[in-house]
Amino acid sequence: MDFDLMITSLPKLLNAAVITLKLLSASLIIGLFIGFLFAVLRLSKNPFINKFAYGYSYLFRGTPLLVQIFIIYYGLGQIEWLRSTFLWVILKEPYWCAIIAFALNTGAYTSEILRSAFQTIKPGIIEAGKSLGISNKIILYKIQIPVAIRQSLPAYGNEIILMMKGTSLASTVTLMDITGVAKHIVSTTYKPLEVFFLAGGIYLFMTFIIHNLIKYLEKKYSFQ
């Protein structure tokens, strides 16, 4: 075990962890918006809107994240007329391509989580609200949404961790996240075990923090 190498690699990996966190937060925030949007679309009575939202969710949950990133980064980069539009300013950068892919992906999973949380709210709660004479709109905002959020916390916490692991795929499109930097160090020192263990340890530490954060939020917002 080359501990010296581990000590010298640690600062490089920690720097890369900043990139990983940036990717993660940007993807989650955008993904949350997309998730809410599509959850609402899925609950709509209109069959076209419903099917469209289902199609989006099925597409992004049924294909690997790697394929999604490659299509957005390499596939879109191939389209000549796209390269002449203003969109190219964004799509040129692997950083944004990765975030777009991640956000679309987590958006699909989040929409499923929120949709099922909405659909499993005990009808009794809504009826209680109605019997108190509260308007439908306020029921939505003050009862349904908070309850749905609370109910989705465990599943969404899981999704955050899955997304964090997903960011490692950014290394396949030249981004220097933790995995990318780890690979680079290994390619010059030929000591995979030490470096990958260290990288894995950093990810594990982040998982630990996220997991405990979600547990804390669950406790804080429990209604029972």
Binding site: T63, P64, I71
Partner: protein, 230 residues
């Protein structure tokens, strides 16, 4: 469309072979994962603090670290570790592990961590009364488990195992980094050769969607079969 034709110039036959490889690796990985469950689920359910810790470490670590990292570790370190073990027995030659086995075991370890959690949750959801009733019947411990607990556990586990299957199926795309020719790798080769990444990666997505769709249909059938009341 003739990019997809079979024969020398079309990529159709290569992609078909790659799809079969993806299916083969997924199935093998699931099965290898189940082997891991045989060891780790009992560990997690045990009363012994130390054994429980080992079981929990396995699931926590593997589920908390990116799959790509597990695959890299296994791929770069696997041969070396194996040769080290073999050298203890006095075998010094190069051991070549073929890519299929390496990939399947790597994904199998990951799949096993998720499956272990599923089985653990399933067993813990079975009413305690069932265990007591099984004991009272006076049959052997093995029969207790196999005839009474196991069927109930399966019924509870199948929906979640279908999730694990979907995850495993999609994770196989990551072994493309080790060079094994499955859907992702073949699309990468075809895209590079024809300089048409958009077409081939989109087609790869279609292939995966087909596989997910078919899996869902088959698993629904399984669920119906196992939900027959008892």
């Amino acid at each position: 469309m003739d990019l997809l034709s079979f024969g020398k110039t079309g990529w159709g036959d290569e992609l078909l072979y790659a799809t079969l490889m993806t299916i083969a690796v997924s199935i093998t990985s699931m099965l290898i994962g189940f082997l891991f469950c045989l060891i780790f689920t009992p560990l997690k359910l045990s009363n012994n603090k130390f054994l429980k810790f080992i079981g929990n470490s396995y699931t926590t670590v593997i589920r908390g670290v990116p799959e790509l990292l597990v695959i890299y570790l296994f791929f770069f370190g696997g041969s070396g570790a194996l040769m080290y073990v073999a050298s203890i027995f006095g075998y010094f030659e190069y051991i070549e592990i073929n890519a299929f086995i390496t990939g399947s075991v790597a994904i199998g370890i990951i799949s096993g961590a998720y499956s272990t959690e599923v089985f653990r949750g399933a067993i813990q959801s079975i009413d305690k009364g069932q265990f007591e009733a099984a004991k009272v019947l006076g049959v052997s411990k093995f029969a207790q488990f196999y005839k009474i607990i196991f069927p109930q556990m399966l019924r509870l586990a199948i929906p979640n195992l279908s999730n694990v299957w979907q995850i495993t199926l999609k994770d196989t795309s990551l072994i493309s980094v080790t060079g094994l020719v499955e859907i992702m790798r073949q699309s990468y080769i075809a895209a590079g050769s024809t300089r048409d990444p958009l077409f081939f990666y989109c087609f790869a997505a279609v292939l995966y969607l087909m596989l997910t769709f078919l899996s869902m249909k088959l698993i629904n059938r399984l669920e119906v079969k196992y939900s027959r009341g008892f």
